[in-house]
């Protein structure tokens, strides 16, 4: 059930077109073809029927008492001169007339004289009466007109009963009403074939027309609607995946073209905004999504600062300064993100990051150790620059700070200042944390201290701790 493959829009539209054409044109064409073929069949049938009437009248007129041979000759001549028409005269018992001397003998007996001489004729009477014969030969007799298909050919039969008229009773006796039945058989195979060919031709034409129309309309729709829509869809998917380079290349001035241009403009805007998000912290973005109301939250405040950077800038060119600083900041940024932290802002060579969650203390300590370790291992790459790190935790106010024109979503509060001061106090390679932070991180991490330190802005000396290493690992 769930594995049903969804049909694409192209397939659906083509299906609708084909079905609509098949049903619409098919119904009209079918009705027309049926009507024409029905009219043709009716005309054929009527023609055969009228022909049979004429023939019957002609035959009846030569059925003169005592002139049976004339009738036989007439039947034979009509059959010979009218290709496709076969005339047979059957006795009322279904045997073929004139096939033997039975009638002559009956007539001679009724006349009580040998009026007619028996003929030497081969016996060729059919073994059984022809189809539906008895329906016609019964009393009262019936004229029948029906179609019979035999051996791949189609025939119309016109059964015309020959009534035993009073004038005939002298020779044939008065003990029966029907003397026989004339079967006027017309081969209509050619007409049937013509009709079938016309029907097949119409059907084939219909299929070709529907196919061509479906092809043309489908192609038109694909070019005008489907392909542009698919291009727009693909661009949207690319944008969703973070790729903003693509554009819909459509120059038409219709609604789809307008849509494409609008989407292109929208993607450009999204691209710009996406680029801007690099300069904004994830916390800020999250706050924007959640609402811009300030709120009090518990956070771990994480500050790093490159030691000796001011004198480094004085000794080196600006390009090198920027390259090395970016290298250091980039590595710090990577480590902080890998440890689940969020960089709130860069202030010169300083990084202000925030960690949240129950294991925020552990992750922030791990990030600090990794940064210090990296600076040590990449001292040459970083031109021997190293960082000092200060970490503390506590309740801060998270909100929009600034003016209506330019503002930052950032943290304010005493823990922010404390962390910044701890960072200022830490020398290159040192990680200074507050007591609350240290308490939250032990025993997973080992600390040295406490030490009493005078922090700027604090009246009383503060207890501070050096983060040494993760427990079980050498510093």
């Amino acid at each position: 059930m769930g594995n049903r493959r969804a049909l694409s829009l192209t397939v659906k539209i083509n299906l609708i077109i084909v079905i609509a054409l098949a049903v619409g044109i098919g119904a009209a064409l079918g009705a027309l073809a049926t009507s024409l073929i029905s009219a043709y069949n009716r005309k054929t049938q009527q023609g055969v029927f009228e022909n049979a009437n004429i023939l019957f009248t002609a035959i009846e007129s030569v059925m003169i008492p005592g002139q049976a041979p004339l009738a036989v000759t007439t039947l034979a001549n009509v059959s010979i001169r009218t290709p496709g028409t076969f005339i047979s005269l059957y006795r009322r018992d279904g045997t073929l007339a004139f096939s033997d001397n039975k009638t002559i003998e009956t007539v001679n007996a009724n006349l009580n004289m040998r009026r007619f001489q028996p003929q030497d004729r081969p016996v060729s009477a059919p073994a059984t009466p022809p189809k539906r014969f008895m329906e016609s030969a019964q009393t009262p007799p019936n004229e029948l007109f029906f179609r019979d298909d035999v051996g791949g050919r189609a025939f119309f039969h016109a059964y015309r009963p020959l009534i035993n008229l009073p004038k005939c009773t002298v020779c044939h006796g008065a003990d029966h009403t029907v003397r026989g039945v004339i079967d006027i058989r017309t081969d209509i195979s050619d007409d049937v074939r013509t009709t079938s060919l016309a029907l097949a031709g119409t059907g084939a034409g219909f299929v070709i027309v529907v196919g061509l129309l479906a092809l043309v309309i489908g192609s038109f729709l694909r070019n005008v609607v489907l392909d542009p829509v698919q291009s727009i869809g693909k661009l949207c998917m690319d944008v969703t995946a973070g790729h903003f380079e693509g554009r819909v290349n459509l120059r038409t001035r219709d609604e789809i073209g307008n849509l494409a241009r609008t989407v292109n403009t929208m993607v450009e805007g999204l691209h710009e905004r996406f680029e801007l998000t690099k300069y904004v912290s994830a916390g800020t973005i999250g706050s924007l999504r959640a609402g811009q109301e300030p709120r009090r939250v518990k956070r771990i405040l994480f500050f790093t600062d490159v030691r000796g950077f001011t004198s480094y800038t004085e000794k080196h060119g600006p390009e090198q300064v920027v390259v090395v600083l970016n290298r250091i900041l980039d590595e710090q940024s990577r480590i902080i993100h890998e440890c689940g932290g969020d960089i709130d802002k860069f202030v010169g060579d300083e990084v202000f990051a925030v960690f949240t969650g129950d294991d925020g203390a552990r992750r922030s300590c791990r990030a600090a150790l990794a940064i210090v370790g990296l600076c040590a291992s990449k001292a040459e790459e970083f031109d021997n620059l190293n960082v000092g790190i200060g970490i503390t935790d506590g309740m801060v106010i998270h909100g929009m700070v600034g003016s209506a024109r330019r503002a930052d979503f950032t943290m304010i509060g005493d823990p922010v200042n404390t962390a910044s001061r701890l960072c200022s106090l830490a020398k290159g390679g040192q990680i200074l944390v507050s007591t609350t932070m240290r308490n939250a991180a032990v025993p997973e991490f080992s600390f040295a201290g406490p030490y009493s330190a005078k922090l700027k802005g604090k009246v009383e000396p503060q207890k501070v701790w050096f983060l040494r290493a993760e427990s079980g690992r050498k510093s």
Partner: protein, 177 residues
């Protein structure tokens, strides 16, 4: 109320349209009082009726026929409205009081689209009593022999056109001559 009346009218029109048209009866109840067309006892076998006794009667309109002389021969044209009823009995000699089993009826109605040779050919099966027009050409074909030589009555030796009637009133023929 108005809607109900409309529905009733519609139903009445519908039933009126669907109602079976009452068939006219040509062999009226007084037909047994009509004159026979022949005094001959028709109990000999003929095609169609075999040896069943036939008793043909014709209404007064039929007996008012006035044949005309055309080319020295009488030409019979029975007046419109002529009805000939032929009683057909089950046997050649029915028992006293035994009624016919069938009536075959000829009605001169040349304007009727169902007519053949100017006649309507009907049968009334008894005791069912319904008259039905026979649409085949069986009757007219057989009776067409009345217009040429045949073995019955006066055999029509003069080959007169007798309007499909085998037993024409000879007194009318005498008047015409």
């Amino acid at each position: 109320m108005k809607r109900g009346c409309l529905v009733l009218i519609a139903l009445a029109v519908l039933f009126g349209a669907c109602a079976k048209k009452e068939e006219r009866v040509y062999a009226t109840p007084d037909y047994p009082t009509w004159r026979k067309t022949t005094d001959t006892v028709l109990d000999y076998p003929i095609p169609g009726h075999m040896d069943r006794l036939r008793v043909p009667r014709m209404n007064a309109i039929g007996f008012s026929v006035a044949p005309t002389l055309v080319g020295g021969k009488l030409h019979w044209d029975f007046p419109e409205g002529t009805v000939i009823v032929k009683e057909v009995y089950a046997r050649p000699k029915p028992a006293p009081g035994e009624g016919p089993i069938q009536l075959t009826i000829m009605v001169k109605a040349p304007k009727d689209p169902r007519s053949q040779g100017g006649w309507l050919w009907l049968t009334r099966d008894l005791p069912d009593g319904k008259e039905q027009v026979f649409m085949g050409n069986y009757c007219v074909t057989c009776h067409s022999n009345a217009n040429e030589g045949h073995p019955y009555f006066d055999r029509n030796q003069n080959l007169e056109f007798r309007d499909y009637v085998y037993f024409v009133p000879l007194d009318a023929a005498a008047r015409a001559r």
